[in-house]
Symmetry: C2
Subunit: 221 residues, 2 copies
């Protein structure tokens, strides 16, 4: 059975990506990061999702002992969603080089287990400001695999798949529904409270997506 | 004062690189990795070197919870140096994607402190087999910075310097001597004993380098 490493954050996008990889016939190895994010709720959700899917998972604990992101500094305020914000601006929630680090670990894992694919649920519709979610970044990372890894040098392949890259949140939610993704286990809010805050960027796009998809968000019932 | 992040392993090469960056006028921020290597001696050496140089340093603890390298698996034997070995072969001490992960953290640190450079002491003379020490890998990583980081997208620069890339061990040792590198604090051996084992690849190349440079290794006195 062909193997894939899936970057799983516990959110809607990465969970849908996991179920998509499963449908494509991959045996999935989930990789969850505990990187000092503001709350542990998303890590717990990711773990529950991995267990529900019956695939193996690993939690990697990493530190960012430097500042530079609202996601890492608990005293730094995460701005309320604001429609007028310049979409091209890099948000305060950008963590320096985060996806580069995550993909590097995924590559290491993939090499160690002879996987042929890495799946990441990045998309650019809602967050065009994040540089490490853009197609040109993923293309550059493929070059890294070819030039700087054992797999590449031995002329085997580890491909990076970003199946959601051009989808809107509504399209992702419709796809999740088709794939029987346990939407009730996914967590998007930047806060780790019992219920989503409904104010942050992430809540805003989730609510908008569910509305446009004509589906009820099970978290808001 | 211009800032640089230096990947510091405690070995001869990275220590010489640190002193080279210092001579080029950089304020150096040392990054040391505790990644489950076979022994802690090189971490202690790196720390002592950073302290001696009077530059700040951070130790990043990371896990590789998968197999795939003799450096990570204590029951996997590190082969004795063998002259007949095919130099192009990837050695058993290759850690999947290690330098990719290390550079990603260095990039994150560099972005967080507004550094303009990352220095890494990789060279290809002794270890042509390691894919993540080759010039084409570093070129590919520069593209990652341009395409996938805030710095790149904002059209600022973080450059990667590999000043030792084409030097032999003897040339590095001569340079270290010129730069007053504390050679007695550096550690190269894959074992973490009191004295170098004199049998592993790393000891072999160190001894050969000192001999060719006509300098005595202070560790062997």
């Amino acid at each position: 059975m062909k193997k894939a490493v899936i970057l799983l954050s516990g959110g809607l996008d990465s969970t849908t990506t996991l179920y998509l990889a499963k449908r494509k016939g991959f045996k999935c190895y989930c990789l969850i990061f505990d990187y000092g994010q503001r709350h542990r709720k998303e890590i717990r959700c990711a773990e529950l999702i991995a267990k529900r899917s019956n695939f193996p998972y690993k939690i990697i604990k990493i530190q960012f002992p430097w500042k530079g992101s609202a996601l890492l500094e608990k005293n730094k305020k995460i701005l309320k969603h604001c429609k007028q914000r310049n979409k091209k601006e890099i948000p305060s929630t950008y963590v320096p080089a985060r996806n580069i680090i995550f993909l590097s670990f995924a590559l290491s894992y993939a090499e160690a287990i002879n996987a042929e694919a890495i799946f990441i649920g990045a998309h650019i519709q809602d967050y065009p400001g994040y540089p490490d979610c853009r197609p040109q970044f993923f293309r550059a990372f493929k070059e890294i695999i070819i030039k700087g890894s054992k797999t590449g040098v031995e002329q085997k392949r580890i491909n990076i798949f970003t199946p959601l890259i051009n989808k809107t949140k509504a399209e992702i939610i419709k796809l999740a529904k088709q794939l029987n993704v346990p939407l009730e286990l996914t967590w998007s809010c930047y806060q780790g409270k019992r219920k989503p805050c409904r104010r942050c960027d992430s809540c805003y796009y989730r609510a908008k997506g569910f509305k446009e998809a004509g589906i009820k968000d099970p978290l808001l019932r």
